[in-house]
Symmetry: C2
């Protein structure tokens, strides 16, 4: 079917800015009129609400504000199931986010969406039409993140686990310093005497992946080490395994492999297993995310642990402030991951009992 | 502080049955009056609502019904974080449950509770006081499950992932046949020629654990095999590791170990690693739950996969029926797990490349 071009703008495509223009006020005033009516003069609020009505600015989407009561609900979209992945990061995150939300007097309501950002925005819109929602927590931010524009146009407070990769100063976020993490992992294997340190990461369109790769580059350059051994692959055990075989077959083979994820690092372990090599003793390996698997494999996998308890607490604190109309600059919090050293990166330990 | 004994029954301790007695009707009629008013004669409904008011039967807890509208919210308590565990079963379950809920026009709202069943019941009550909830999904059922009595007394529909271990015919549940699972795993290793098949499971107070242990016993007895090698330990890598060492040091040592969880099986793999033995080639190992780790370790771990997609769909279908006042007997669904065979239980494969 062709989209129709007749009639007024489709339901929901009126933006906050259009309402502001019509009412002759700033977008912030419109947002305040809807979310923090105390902060707007009654006359101004009346004019703004008239413009809202005139333009058909999604009244349902602002049901919470118009009714002037809190639903105490914070919405979060669950990650899709990923059977091949070691990481439980987003599952653990959901748990701590929920615990923090309940602590602060909120409850989490879950969204489900398929079809990328467009699907996610549709799911948010459907949810807002059905239920009043106080705030959204986003995860896995990207450049040109359409979700940000959508939530702003609806006047709904939100904060993200993941920085604004566009440098959007107005967006509140909490993130973990991936670059510092891989820099620490690389420095750790260099300290064990490794000089051929390969990197197995993700394709360049992943902002998160580029950030982690930069930390490996930093640490190698600081030590004038080769940076020839690099792979950019989609995150899977099999891709990690194949990349490891290539780097171990190179003219100057890798003696240490720093990986962007535990899943890739477990692929490296599989490759070593196939070659009869021992992780740690023969080739050092590091992963990322401290998945349960990292602690459970033999030998244990050296990896980076994200402080997700703190991420969850800070995000709930942030949206709570936003809802209260806290006038301070939106919070930007960058936390450090912790290097968890296990036997996969240590040469010393021998398997004896 | 001492609980007070003055005044009327504490808020919320009036039961559906007491309301029914006062109104001279069945408990079902009270439930219908609150949840499916069309199914009760207006006169009767009036009498019931009078009794509700007179006795102070938690009006907030039935807010949804009294307002005669659906909130479209289904509540579910998240599992606590368990850093040592391989299993993501409950996380994957939450994802599929949410997807099924959204498919059927509902949304999941998450509960958070600490302090066992009493804490969970308190969290449910707090949630019901704050928000109207259409139904609850329980998980991890036990004998004498107080949550069942609480939800019944509040007249809120619910269904459980996990059977009624008391044989409660009125409770709707969906479960997976653990006994059939370990029976299949044991038969599989027996078919590889093993006759000394040990079992590493959980303490006897776990109904789930006893069910899984029974499947190993069945398969051993059917083949007249020894059942001396048994361990009942709390689920952890370390406990699995220690139990494996004991069974490998026994007078007639185990050549195969069937485990109640992937976490225990990974402990067995750690023990073999420490002894320089090869999983599969030297000692067969099976786990339970098909955690991501099971596919990621080298060699891969043979395990049992629960059909949680189907569990999620059936549970949402069940509460949907309950809310619609479907008069049929509550659904009891027992699904079969699937044996996933990997190299940890196969003698044939050699590690060559």
């Amino acid at each position: 079917m062709q989209p129709t071009s007749r009639g007024p703008a489709p339901h929901g495509h009126v933006t906050l800015v259009q309402v502001a223009q019509r009412a002759g006020v700033s977008a912030q005033s419109v947002s305040n009129a809807l979310n923090n009516p105390d902060r707007v003069a009654p006359e101004t609020r009346k004019r703004i609400l008239a413009a809202v009505e005139e333009l058909g600015y999604e009244p349902n989407l602002s049901a919470r504000a118009l009714r002037n009561r809190s639903s105490s609900l914070i919405a979060f979209k669950m990650r899709p199931a990923r059977p091949d992945k070691a990481s439980m990061l987003m599952d653990d995150f959901l748990y701590v986010l929920n615990a923090s939300a309940v602590d602060a007097g909120y409850h989490l309501i879950l969204c489900h969406a398929e079809g990328g950002q467009a699907g996610e925005i549709k799911a948010y819109r459907d949810l807002l039409k059905k239920t009043s929602i106080d705030a959204f927590i986003l995860a896995e931010t990207h450049r040109n993140d359409d979700r940000v524009a959508a939530l702003r146009s609806w006047g709904v407070p939100f904060a993200a686990f993941g920085r604004s990769w566009d440098g959007d100063e107005e967006m509140a976020w909490v993130d973990v310093d991936g670059r510092a993490g891989t820099r620490a992992a690389t420095a750790h294997v260099a300290a064990q005497g490794h000089t051929q340190i390969g990197y197995i990461g993700w394709p360049a369109e992943s902002e998160l992946g580029e950030d982690r790769r930069a930390g490996w580059l930093d640490a190698c350059r600081e030590r004038s080490l080769d940076t020839d051994l690099q792979a950019a692959v989609v995150d899977s055990l099999e891709n990690g395994r194949q990349a490891a075989h290539r780097m171990l077959d190179a003219a100057r083979p890798a003696t240490a492999l720093v990986c962007a994820s535990d899943t890739l690092a477990l692929g490296v372990m599989r490759a070593l297993h196939e070659r009869g090599l021992r992780p740690g003793a023969d080739v050092a390996i590091t992963g990322y995310d401290d998945s349960p698997t990292a602690a459970l494999v033999s030998p244990g996998l050296t990896t980076l642990r994200q402080p997700i308890d703190e991420v969850g607490r800070q995000l709930i604190h942030t949206v709570d402030n936003l809802m209260a109309g806290d006038p301070r600059t939106p919070q930007h919090v960058l936390l450090e991951p912790e290097l968890i050293v296990r036997d996969s990166s240590l040469p010393g330990r021998r398997d004896t009992r």
